[in-house]
Amino acid sequence: MNETVILRLSLRDFRNFDTVDFYPSQDGLTVIQGENGAGKSSLLEAVVYVSTLQSFRGAPREAIVRQGAIEANVRCDVLAGKRKVETEISILLGRRDRAWHNGQRVPGVRGLLEVLRTTLFTPDDLVLVKGAPSGRRDFVDDVLTRSHPRLGADRSALDRVLRHRNALLRQLGGRLDSEAATTLDIWDDRLAQIGERLARSRSELVEALSPYAAEAFSILASQAGSFKMRYVSSWEGALSDALAVARHEDLRRATTTVGPQRDDVEIEAGGLDARTRLSQGRQRCVALSLRLSSHRLMTNVTGAAPVLLLDDAFSELDEATARALVGELPDGQAFLTTAGELPPGASPKLVVRLVDGKLKQ
C-alpha cells in the first residue's frame, strides 16, 4: 500500500523554536519526549499546519510566529507515493500564508492536503464524545473535507450563507414586507440547496465511518457491547419546507433555527448514549474509535495512509486501553509526543528528546 512519509521537518521562528531540523523514522513510531512546555506539541502543530494552514490548537497566527520575529517558516519533505515533494510554508504577519511544492506556488489548501494528510489524536478528543454537537459536526466536516474536498466545500458555503441569512434577519428586525420576503426567499433557496447536499454527504460519511469505528471500539473496550452511530438531522422532509415553517420563529429570534448547523451525530455503545451515559474511560475509547475510523476511511478513499500524530494521546488512558491502542495502531509512520514513559507494549523506531528548543537523539 501507498504511504505518506515525512522525510524531514524544519522549522524557523515557529512557536518557541529558533531553528530546528528533524529527521524522523520513515516507518513505525517516532517518539518525541520532553518536559511539559518544551514544545513537543508545536512540532506536531507544524506538521498539521503544512497540511491545512491551520493550527490544531486553534492558535492565531500571531501566536505561531516566534515572539520578536515577523515570519515563521516550515519546510516539510514528504514522500507521497513515489513522488518526493518539498513543501514550504511562509507565515508572514499581515499577509496570507503562502505555500510551495518543489518551489512552485500552491494556490490553496486543497493542493496541500493532496500531498500530506494527517490523523491527529489528542486527549482533548474526549470533547468529541462529551461535548456539544458542534464538535461532532466539525469532526465529520473535517473528514469530509479531507476525503472529498468538493463536498467539504459545502461546509464553508453553509457558514457563509448562514451569516448572510442571519444578518438579513437582524436587519429586518422582525418585520417582513413582500420585498423583504423575496430577498429572504433567495437566501432560503441557497441555504436549502447547500444544506441538503451537506447533510446528505455527512450522513453518508457517518454511515461509512460506522463499521470502522465499531470494529475499533470492540478492540479498545472489551465487552462493551454493540456500537452504533448515526447522523441525526434537525428537520424532516425538504429543508425548504422546514425553513418556511420556521420562518416566523427565525424572524422573531433573528437567527436560523433549522438546518445542518443544528444537526448531530448520535453514538450508542452497549445500548447507552455515549454522550451522557458512558463512563469517561469508555468515552475515551469512543473518541479513539472515531479517530481510528477516520484514519481507515481516509486510507481507503485516498489509497494512502495518513501520517499518525499522537499528541500526548496515552496520558489519560488506563493500561488496558493503552495496550489495546498500541496493538491497534495502523501501519505506517507515526509520531508520539510524551512527557513521561512510553506506552506499554510500544516499540519505537526512534526516540528523541526535546530540551531547550533542541532535539537530541
Binding site: 451569516r163 436587519q171 423575496t182 430577498t183 433567495i186
Partner: protein, 199 residues
C-alpha cells in the same frame, strides 16, 4: 516613521487594495527617487481619473461623457442587456468578443453581511430601462459565487413576471471565482451556453 511627506505618502498608498505596508514603503521610495516628470504624470493621471471619469447615465459603466463608449455605439444591440456586478466585468466579457449587446452594472451583489440589499444595487434603473428600451433578453452575468448566484436568482424572480427572456451564463466557470479572472475562452463558452431561467 519617516519624515512627514514620505510618511503621508506611505500611509495613503497603504490604504490601496492589495498594497501591504512593505509595498507601500517600496512604492513611496520609488516615487521619491523617480524623476520629477514621471512622478507628476502619476499624480496627474490620478487627478484626471477623478475629474474626467464618471458613470454612464444608462448602464453605469465608466464613461467620459453622459454615455459610455458602448452605449453610444450605434452598432450595439440594445434589445439584449448583460447584467454584471462591476465595470471590470464588462472588460472581461468584451475580451471574449462574443457579445454585441449592451450592459448594466449593478454596483455589487446581494450581501447582507456587508449591508447590501436590493436597494443598494442599481436594480430600479434596470427595471426602468426594460420599460423604455424594448429589451428582449437579459443575461445574468453575475459572479459564479454564493452572492452572485443569489443576486442572479433575485433578479430572475423580479424580471420573469415582466415577460422578458432571462438567461444565466452557463456553469463551467470555476465555482467561487470572479468573472474578472476567468479566461476569455471559458467566459465566452459560458456566455454562448447560457440557459433560460424559468421561475
Amino acid at each position: 516613521m519617516f519624515a512627514g511627506p514620505i510618511q503621508e505618502l506611505v500611509d495613503e498608498l497603504g490604504r490601496l487594495p492589495g498594497v501591504g505596508p512593505r509595498s507601500a514603503q517600496r512604492i513611496a521610495f520609488y516615487v521619491l527617487e523617480a524623476d520629477r516628470d514621471s512622478a507628476l504624470r502619476l499624480a496627474q493621471a490620478i487627478v484626471e481619473v477623478k475629474d474626467r471619469i464618471r458613470l454612464c447615465e444608462r448602464c453605469f459603466n465608466v464613461a467620459e461623457t453622459e454615455l459610455c463608449t458602448i452605449c453610444s455605439d450605434p452598432r450595439r444591440d440594445r434589445t439584449i442587456i448583460c447584467v454584471v456586478e462591476d465595470p471590470r466585468d464588462i472588460v472581461a466579457v468584451e475580451r471574449t468578443r462574443e457579445f454585441h449587446g449592451t450592459y448594466h452594472v449593478l454596483g455589487g451583489a446581494l450581501s447582507p453581511i456587508d449591508g447590501v440589499g436590493p436597494e443598494q444595487l442599481r436594480v430600479r434603473p434596470l427595471l426602468v430601462r426594460l420599460g423604455v428600451e424594448g429589451v428582449a433578453e437579459v443575461i445574468l452575468c453575475t459572479n459564479p459565487n454564493l452572492e452572485g448566484e443569489a443576486t442572479a436568482m433575485y433578479l430572475a424572480r423580479l424580471l420573469l413576471p415582466i415577460g422578458v427572456k432571462v438567461t444565466r451564463i452557463a456553469s463551467g466557470l470555476p465555482v467561487g471565482g470572479d468573472l474578472e479572472y476567468a479566461d476569455e475562452l471559458t467566459l465566452g463558452r459560458a456566455l454562448e451556453g447560457r440557459r433560460e431561467v424559468n421561475g
